[in-house]
């Protein structure tokens, strides 16, 4: 019964099953960013603490830093916030908060309640800069190296597992670069 012509449909079926499960395990919401490996888009945005003062990311050249896109209306941001607080506690890098399509009052109240891991917070109320960064869902976090190149984009909340297994090793690696 093990004739080749009977085996071929069976093998083809198994190949299809493998492909199906590989496909099902992919999360379609995690769209890979074309910005990884490219310079972080320049911008100038007002600061949450004092909207008359602006911030430009150029000042962080020579340092490894993270840009965390968040908002007070975002549930996932609430979930990941303790992890960000922990990262800030470890004092490895500066985390810049990017308040996306939010109001200043609500953002500030949110930080007062849940803690502030950010070196500073910029506000993008209209989402125009977010557009340049390819933001489509909050939270998203970009990790930028000393040369200002985006090296990794984390889509969705950062878990403790992500932090210890992926993020912190990456930060250490980027910091070791010249």
């Amino acid at each position: 019964m093990l004739k080749l012509k009977f085996l071929i449909p069976l093998i083809a079926f198994f190949v299809l099953v493998v492909l199906l499960f590989a496909g099902l395990s992919n999360d379609p919401r995690r769209v890979p960013s074309p910005l990884v490996g490219k310079p972080a888009p320049a911008f100038e945005l007002p600061r949450l603490s004092d909207p008359s003062v602006t911030f430009k990311p150029q000042v962080l050249l020579g340092k490894v830093w993270a840009l965390n896109i968040w908002a007070s209306w975002c549930g996932g941001c609430r979930t990941e916030h303790p992890v960000l607080n922990e990262l800030a506690r470890q004092d490895l890098i500066s985390i810049i908060g990017f308040d996306y399509k939010d109001t200043n009052d609500q953002a500030q109240a949110w930080l007062n309640q849940y803690g502030n891991p950010y070196r500073l917070v910029v506000t993008d109320q209209k989402g125009t800069v977010g557009f340049d960064y390819g933001v489509y869902g909050v939270p998203e976090t970009f990790f930028i190296d000393k040369k200002g190149i985006i090296r990794y984009k984390h889509i969705g909340p950062i878990s403790y597992k992500d932090l210890t297994e992926k993020i912190i090793p990456l930060i250490k690696e980027l910091k070791a670069e010249s």
Partner: protein
């Protein structure tokens, strides 16, 4: 009672029509070519949030921003290619509702065709084999007599 049911169905059907063409903003176009370009682009770009919808059909906030951007860029004199490239540079190939014909997407485009051809070949071969099995060879005179003898022997026992 019948009239009421009919009316009810009509209303529900009418509501479905609205949802299919849901659009959150009303836009003024000064030229029909601009409107045509806008509609084409908004049809071919995907909403990253509601990923199975194009920009035309999606109600999400991001889709609204992207539609505004498309309109802005058309008004600024950008070509269709420039607008699409702008979106792809920020959101990746996934923003194209129709996947581009690239080495990576080759399997996506050719895969179904390949499977169909394989299936067609297999079916042809199976049918041919079956036809072969169906054709009965004629027995020669001698073989016919032998067969008859054997059958008679079987009957008498």
């Amino acid at each position: 009672m019948r009239a009421f049911t009919f009316l009810f169905v009509l209303v529900i059907a009418g509501l479905q029509l609205n949802l299919a063409h849901a659009r959150v903003e009303f836009r003024e176009f000064d030229k029909p070519e601009v409107e045509a370009r806008y509609n084409k682009l908004v049809d071919e770009l995907r909403c990253l949030v509601c990923q199975n919808q194009n920009l035309k059909g999606s109600n999400s906030d991001l889709a609204k921003d992207m539609r505004n951007k498309v309109f802005e860029m058309i008004s600024a004199g950008k070509t269709n290619k420039e607008i699409v490239d702008y979106m792809v540079a920020r959101y990746g190939d996934f923003v194209l509702y129709k996947p581009p014909f690239k080495p990576m997407t080759l399997m996506l485009w050719l895969g179904p065709l390949l499977f169909f051809i394989i299936a067609l070949i297999s079916v042809i071969r199976i049918v041919k084999q079956r036809n072969k099995a169906d054709s009965i060879e004629e027995l020669s005179e001698e073989e016919h007599k032998r067969a008859q003898a054997l059958l008679n022997k079987g009957d008498s026992q």
